[in-house]
Amino acid sequence: MASKAVITGVADTAVGKVDGSTSLGLQAEAAAAAVADAGLSLGDIDGVLCGYSFTEPHLMLSSVVSEFLGIKPSYSIAVQAGGATACAQVMQAAALIEAGICRHVLAVCGDNRLTGMSRDKAVAALSEVGHAQFERPYGISVPSAYALVAQRYMHDYGVTLEHLAGVAVAHRKHAMRNPKAQMRQPITLEDVAKSKPISTPLRLLDCCLISDGGAAVVISAADAARDTRKRGIGVLGTGQMNTHEHIIASPSLTDFGCKQSSRQAFDRAGVTPADIDVAEIYDSFTITLLAELESIGFFARGEAGPAILGGALDLDGQLPCNTHGGLLSYAHSGAAGGMFHVVEAVRQLRGEAEGRQVASPELAFVHGDGGILSAHCSLVLGRN
């Protein structure tokens, strides 16, 4: 199926500890690189969708970014959906193109969360997503909210601490093949088990990184993409589901909106989970990925953990997943964290993933989760 919207350019900056970086600078660097990757110039961009920034927050961030880049887009807006932001930017861009409103949309994110603020301040800022009256007085944090999911999920489906550790180890294995990844030293199941407790059952190595970094993609109208430099990657299907914001209001602690958002994306693309060759799925915590893999239907309930210990997410496994190393081992710099998943999916489909390349993938699935498994956005991408 030919799609109307195609991804024509992708880029990410150096990630990890990027000394001297700023949120705006990382966004500008990623934007320029993505536009160059497409073989376009910044002047060709008529739509700008940016994310959000912790270190340089602004009421109108997309205007700030466009002003900094020196462009005057005819459509511009900031998207804020936590970890679902990047996928939501791509979904919105595809909709703008399908509606004929834009020809070349820049979706850009970047934040210097590691060097721009202390670790304590980053953790405290994230805890503010808790409900002001009914969660925050109890000392809730984002890891604690996911830990509440993990505890219930383990109880209901027989997931073990070793299964969670297996997710962390699988990501590190991917990151070790990626020269850009923030964390590349090998880890074992025992290392995860011995890492310091954060909020039971989650340990330090069950949690994502805090990083500097930026990422951007250019989404173009198919007819406008003929002049671009590389093979366009089709946005074949998109979907969203939003069930709650706060964990106390979640309809379930084990079944989440990724089920419906992925179903929409698969249906619109006319494919099934079994058709997917490579997946890049939000992995803020080990339990996040495990719950998503099973809610989406890539694995039956309780079966992802044992499968992952058996190598299911590896390059030659049943579902090569988070091949760049994910938020757990590649990098996590706010909204850009989710955009790294999009960038990696495109690189895999183009055959540009070098030492971590999956053998000739045709279809990729990308998923972002914002809040506490609250906002979900799914993409099916394919070689057009």
Partner: protein
């Protein structure tokens, strides 16, 4: 820096005032019978606006829990390890609490609890829970 304290608003004032009187109240929809918490302006099931406030028995069970070792704010650092639980009350609503009066290692899903009210530095006490 002190702990975040509840700041009641027009939707939640009734709840927090009841806490001062030792009652945990939830909303009951007169149209469809749905019970809900936290408080809203309308019913999340049928979107009707005719809501009653009913007192909970305060009895329930642990639906999920976590033992926090890494506090998100300076003001909670002296408390670690502390237990955050989501409790399911008999009337079908769920709430977040800290579990008090129990060894964190002994907490389990399904454990019977009762709500009690813990004084804070502010005007309103916080509903908390302990084993029953």
């Amino acid at each position: 820096m002190s702990k975040p304290l509840p700041q009641p608003n027009v939707v939640t004032q009734r709840f927090w005032s009841s806490c001062k009187d030792g009652r945990f109240e939830f909303q009951h929809c007169k149209a469809c019978g749905h019970n809900q918490f936290p408080p809203r302006l309308t019913c999340t099931a049928c979107h009707g606006a005719d809501l009653d406030w009913l007192p909970s028995s305060g009895r329930g069970t642990v639906y999920s829990f976590t033992v926090v070792h890494r506090a998100p704010l300076e003001s909670f650092k002296a408390d670690v390890p502390y237990v955050i639980a989501i409790v399911a009350l008999e009337e079908g609503v769920r709430a977040m609490v800290n579990l008090r009066g129990v060894d964190p290692k002994a907490v389990a899903i399904g454990m019977p609890i009762e709500v009690f009210f813990e004084p804070t530095e502010g005007e309103y006490p916080l509903p908390q829970a302990r084993p029953r």
